[in-house]
Each structure stands twice: as structure tokens, then as C-alpha cells.
Amino acid sequence: MEFFIISMLNGLSYGLLLFMLSSGLTLIFSMMGVLNFAHASFYMLGAYVGYTISRYVGFWPALVLAPLVVGALGALFERVFLRKVHKFGHVPELLITFGLSYVILELVQLIWGRIALEFRPPEVLQGPAFTLINHSINGLSMLWGAAPAEMCSAADAAVRVVCSPFPATRGFMMLVALVMLLGVWLLLTRTRVGLVIQSALTHPDAVEALGHNVPRIFMLVFGAGTALAGLAGVIGGSTFLTEPAMAATVGSVIFVVVVVGGMGSLSGAFLASVLIGVIQTFAIAFDFSLATMAQQIGLPLSEAARNNTVVKLTLSQVAPILPYLFLVLILIFRPKGLLGTREG
């Protein structure tokens, strides 16, 4: 039970991190029709900028400043490069962000080096947020913070006690993602700015005729989207690893999320992020293969079959490809994506 809860929470927090990234990507895509290939690169940039700022002024200011810096860089990129190729069509737009991903990766390696950095979260977030204690007699109980050692071990050998801590950074990740989700939603639906953005989405000409500067709105949306990626980067970088490969590891997964959720659908992106986060986290935790399954249902296997690679593969080994398999299945059975509306 406690395994299920902890894995679920881990999966949810990973899914929410994915959502922080895919929401920005979806926002930019649905507004400008541009698929920002460099989105994960901005995520990585957020982690590195956050690392540098946190060394001077601490983690909490960095959490605010780094996304602003990354957002400003994103807006600058939109203004200088992306706007120029807008007239050529969508493929050159995608290509220029593809080129940018190369440049950012090289620049990051140039400035911060090729090895992983030690980007630690602040004291408050180190250690567990709460601990689940499964006592074979007293049942399941929860304790905020770390559990003292004596509670996790029983004097009596017959009593089994298992402590499962949940890391505070993961909890913080969920908190920030939810606050951000709420913030973006309120901004888009409850404010004047949000109204203008929403209308610029569907009727750019009409909005322009009313006197709004649509290219500037686009620039701000691009900046905001990359700032969200930067925010995710500060949190992701301090929770996981801050290294040059971090963009590549998360990059292809968020593209899967966007396609699975349905291109341009924010709620679809949310659903798909959480689904993929949970599926991947659970898959990693299981040491389950076709061989063990055959054993459990009592199917005798020959020696050759037992040594077959496919049969021997455990679920945790397959975990990295699950998002892509999911993508293929969705495309075959529901080409629009989970909550998508447009075909093609």
C-alpha cells in the first residue's frame, strides 16, 4: 500500500513537471503554430541559470529570477530570429528552433562545462516531506518530516516495520506546478491580458484591428512559455541532475506528451503528462517480465524460451520506451490525441 502511494506521488510529481514543460510548449504552439523544438533546451538553461544565481543570492530568489532571465532570452530569440522566418512558413520555424537547440547545448557546455553540476535544493527541501510507516501490527501511519530511526525498526523481530519517505523536493515540485497551473488558468480566463491573448489565438486580424500589437503579444507568449520551461528547469535541475544531457532526456518525452494529449490542447497536455509520468514511474518500480508472468500462471517454459531476450526483459527495462509505444498506440487508435480536436 505504502509502495503504491509513494509511487503514485512520485509519478504525479514527475507528470506535473512534464506538464510545466508541455504547457508552455502547447501555449506557444496553439498561439503561433510554432513547435518550439528548443523548449527542453530552455528547461536546461533554466536549471543552469538557476544554479548560477542561487550561488550568489540563494535558491529562493533564483526560483524567481532564473525563469525571468530565461523568459527574457526566449522573448529576445522570438524578436530577433523567429519573427524573421515567420513569413517562410512552419517548417523553417521548426528548423530555426532546432538549430537553436544545438546552439544552446553547445553554449551551456561552453559556459558551465560538460559534467553534471551539484545543484542542491535548499536545506528545507532536503530530506523527506513525510514518511509513511507500515507497521505490521499498528497498520499504516503517516508522519511529517523524517521518521526517527527507532520508529522504523522494531525491537521485536516478529514485527515488520517499513518506512517509506517521500522527498520534499518532489512535494515542492507538485506544489509549484499546481500553483503555476492555477496562475496560468486565472491569467488566461480572468484577466484582460488573458482575453486579448485568447482572442489573438483565434482571430489575430480582428485583434490587430482593435489596436493591439499582435507580434508583441506573440513575443510575450513565447517569453512566458520559455519562462515556464525555465521555472521547471530550476526545480527539475535541483531535484534530478543538472547536466548537458538533461534537455535530450526530457525533450522527446514532452513532444510525446503534446502529441498524445492532442496538439494544442492544454487539458490534453495535462492528462497526457500525468498519465505518462505515472506509467513510467510505476514501470521502473516493477521487476516483472514475460518469464515471471509465465511462471505465475503456471506455464512451463523451455530452456531456450527462458533465455530469450524478449521474454527476459523486465518492465523496468522497458520503461524508457513506454511513452513512445503509447504514442504509437494513440496514433493508431485515436489519431487526434486524447483530448485533441484537430485532425491532420
Binding site: 504552439f29 503554430g33 513547435l35 530570429f81 524573421k84 522566418v85 517562410f88 512552419h90 517548417v91 523553417p92 521548426l94 528548423l95 530555426i96 532546432f98 538549430g99 537553436l100 544545438y102 546552439v103 547545448l105 553547445e106 553554449l107 557546455q109 561552453l110 559556459i111 562545462g113 560538460r114 535530450a248 522527446s252 513532444f255 510525446v256 503534446v258 502529441v259 496538439m263 531476450t309 524478449v310 526483459l313 527495462q317 522497458v318 524508457p320 520506451i321 511513452p323 513512445y324 509505444l325 504514442l327 504509437v328 496514433l331 493508431i332 489519431p335 491532420g344
Partner: protein, 429 residues
């Protein structure tokens, strides 16, 4: 681009170009002799097939694929297994036919994966190919029987009885095998652009909605072309397997797919011969440029950014535009401007390159002392003056370049207007 009258009369220019192309392939190893030159030339042949097959998707079909290495790479793997079967005696085909096995494998995988990817076009297609590429790469680490794990699969191309003295032992024999395959593949792919399917593919790229109205199934057109592109990609992979005699998982990696995209675009996706230029550049960049500087990927990314912004047709389009100007006898007037652009551009480039190289040195090899050799100069990477100097060179170069560029742009515009007028006048007559 080609027009539909080409099969009706004997086209001297075309025969001349193909003749020159085959002649180049034949004499290249004589002109550039030496071990390194031969490997570079062999790799160029392989890359030309790969980039042209990629351009069948990008340039002719408007399909931006991020996973083309899947087809070249899996072609390589199947080809090396085929080669090992030939060595083991279980597959009775000559070694020369092994690349064809790779081609069939690439085709087979394109039939399988293309069914999913070509259901969509545009941006979604791009992302699905990216996902499939990641899928195949992740699989390559999970199934060591087929992919050989981290060490890869190796083979030996010197096998079977020699045919007319050809054993494929010496690299020159492999080069000529690659050259023959390259020539046939290039001719076949050029012929493809003229077939009804090739023409429909262009139509699907330009206006899919209208193609649907005419009664064609756009998905079917994309799918069929994707399979053909997969076949040629597989041939390229099979040749690579024969050439290197080892295939590792990195041939299906996303970086390889990215390189195909980058260089096909740099060469020029809008012209048939563009990817050939791109492929040659790709091999030069990977083999020579990467030896020359550690920062080559950065330079490559920057060049790519500027190409997308200012010359979306790639190098091929630049050549064609200047040819057009030359045909109207105006190129000579631009010579001075080109010279000015080149000189000022070089100054700016020197400044920025010095700064990039110094930063790389500080970051990666600072332990080897503060000095680096840069274009015959010794630069002290920790010295304040060298940085100021490099920045000054960059600033001066940039300002001069901008001035030269403005003057050039004015002149260029005037020439284009002139040509436009001339063409209109001819049409009116």
C-alpha cells in the same frame, strides 16, 4: 527544377552533367590519393545517398523527419548480419549485393513505421518521427542479440571467392563499389522526381487539400514515397556497414538523424542537387572540421541559424540565384561587393572565433597553460588585452560587414528588378 518536356528530346546539358558526375566519381580517388582521402570519399558517397533519400521526404514531400537514421541505421544492422551470414555460408549472395539487403531492410522498416508516421503531415509528422527514432534507439540497448549491445556488431567483408580479382580487401575496391551504388542511386532518385508519383508528392507538399479534391489519397502518396526513401536510406546504411565493417547503436541515434536534417537543409532542400553539396559538407565537417576545432558544433548551429534566416533554400539556392544573375551578365558588377562581404565577414568571424576558441580552451583544457595557437598567433586566454582585442576585431568586422551588406543588398535588389523586367519583356514578345 525539372519540367515535363525533358523526355521528349535529347538534352545535351543533362547528358553532360551526368557524364561529368560519373567521371568525378571515377577519377576522384586518383586525384585525391591517400588513405584519409579514400575514406572521406567513400563516406561522401554513402552520405550522398542518405541525404538525397532524406530530401525525398523534406524537399520533395515537405515531410520534416527527425528519425531518418532509423532507416539508414537498421539497414546497416541487417546488412552486417547478412554479411556475417554470407561469411558463415548460410546466405548464398555475393558481397556486392549486401547493400541491397540493407536497402530491402530499410524498405521493410519504412513499410512498418511509415504506416504510423505518414498518417500525419507537417509538425505532427515531425514529432512522431522523433518519437519513433527514440523508440528504436532505446530498443537498441535492450535487444543485444540484434544490436550487439555497446560493442556493436562487426563483420568481415573479405569473404567468399573473389570475382574477377575483386575481394573488397583494399579500400579502393570498396570505394568503387560505393561509387557505382551512388551513381545508380542518384540516377534512380532523380528519375523518381519525374515519375507521376514524384510529381504528386510535390503536389502533396504544396497543397494537400487540393490533391485530395483531385482524387488522390495524400496519405497513400506520402506512405509510398516514404517507403522508397526508406529503401535508398537502407542502401546507404548497407554501404556504410560494408565500409566500416562494424555497426554500433549510434547509427540509429537522434544525433545522426539531426545531422541528415541539418546538412540536407544547408545544402539546399529545394533543388535536387542540394543534398549532394550537403552530404559532402557533412563528411568534411565530421571528419576534418571536428579535428580542427572543438567548438565545431557551435559554429555549425550558428551557421544553420543564419542559413534558415537568410537563405532558406540552402547553398544550392545561392548558387542558382547567382547563376541567374550571371546569365543576365550582371555578376561581374557584384564581384567587388562579394569581395567586400567576404573580407569584412572574415574579420568579424575571426573576432568571434577567437573568443569562442579562448572560452573553449579555458573550459576544457586550461591545465595545458593559458596560451593557444590561433591562426598563427599566440593568444593568452587569461589576458585582458586579448579579449578586448578579439572583441574589437569582432565589432569592427561587424560594422564594416553591415555596411558592405547594405550596399550589396541595394545592388542585388536593383539587379533583381532589372532581371524581372527583362523576363517580362521577353514574355511579352
Amino acid at each position: 527544377m525539372s519540367n515535363n518536356t525533358r523526355s521528349k528530346r535529347f538534352n545535351t546539358g543533362r547528358w553532360l552533367i551526368w557524364g561529368l558526375f560519373s567521371l568525378t566519381l571515377a577519377v576522384a580517388p586518383i586525384l585525391f590519393s591517400g588513405g584519409l582521402a579514400l575514406t572521406v570519399l567513400s563516406q561522401m558517397g554513402i552520405a550522398i545517398i542518405a541525404c538525397l533519400s532524406y530530401n525525398m521526404l523534406l524537399g520533395q514531400g515537405g515531410m520534416l523527419s527527425f528519425g531518418h537514421a532509423v532507416y539508414t541505421g537498421l539497414g546497416s544492422f541487417v546488412a552486417i548480419h547478412a554479411l556475417n551470414s554470407v561469411s558463415g555460408g548460410s546466405l548464398p549472395i555475393p558481397v556486392s549485393a549486401v547493400p541491397l539487403v540493407g536497402g530491402l531492410a530499410g524498405m521493410g522498416f519504412a513499410v512498418l513505421f511509415g504506416y504510423v508516421t505518414t498518417r500525419k503531415a507537417g509538425t505532427t509528422f515531425a514529432m512522431i518521427t522523433l518519437g519513433l527514432g527514440e523508440l528504436v534507439f532505446a530498443m537498441s540497448l535492450m535487444v543485444p542479440e540484434f544490436f550487439g549491445g555497446e560493442g556493436g556488431v562487426s563483420g568481415n567483408r573479405v569473404t567468399g571467392s573473389p570475382f574477377m580479382g575483386i575481394t573488397y580487401g583494399p579500400a579502393i575496391q570498396v570505394y568503387y563499389l560505393i561509387a557505382v551504388y551512388t551513381f545508380i542511386a542518384v540516377v534512380a532518385m532523380f528519375a523518381f522526381t519525374g515519375t507521376p508519383l514524384g510529381r504528386m508528392l510535390n503536389a502533396v507538399r504544396d497543397n494537400p487539400e487540393r490533391v485530395e479534391f483531385v482524387g488522390y489519397n495524400t496519405q497513400r502518396v506520402r506512405y509510398t514515397s516514404f517507403i522508397i526513401a526508406g529503401f535508398f536510406a537502407g542502401i546507404s546504411g548497407g554501404l556504410a556497414a560494408l565500409n566500416f565493417e562494424i555497426v554500433t547503436a549510434e547509427v540509429v541515434h537522434a544525433a545522426r538523424s539531426g545531422a541528415y536534417l541539418l546538412f540536407t537543409f544547408l545544402g539546399g532542400a529545394t533543388f535536387f542537387f542540394g543534398p549532394i553539396i550537403g552530404a559532402i559538407l557533412m563528411v568534411l565537417a565530421f571528419v576534418l572540421f571536428s579535428e580542427f576545432t572543438q567548438a565545431w558544433l557551435l559554429y555549425l548551429g550558428l551557421i544553420f541559424l543564419f542559413m534558415v534566416m537568410y537563405a532558406p533554400g540552402g547553398i544550392a539556392s545561392l548558387i542558382m540565384m547567382n547563376l541567374r544573375v550571371a546569365m543576365f551578365g550582371k555578376l561581374r558588377g557584384l564581384a567587388l561587393n562579394y569581395l567586400a562581404l567576404a573580407v569584412t565577414g572574415l574579420i568579424a568571424l575571426t573576432g568571434i572565433a577567437a573568443m569562442i576558441e579562448m572560452t573553449y580552451h579555458l573550459q576544457l583544457s586550461a591545465s595545458q597553460g593559458p596560451d593557444i595557437a590561433f591562426m598563427g598567433l599566440k593568444l593568452n586566454t587569461t589576458g585582458f588585452d586579448t579579449w578586448i582585442g578579439a572583441a574589437a576585431v569582432l565589432a569592427i568586422g561587424f560594422v564594416l560587414f553591415e555596411m558592405a551588406r547594405r550596399r550589396f543588398a541595394q545592388k542585388w535588389e536593383a539587379i533583381q528588378v532589372f532581371i524581372e523586367k527583362q523576363v517580362n519583356k521577353e514574355d511579352a514578345q
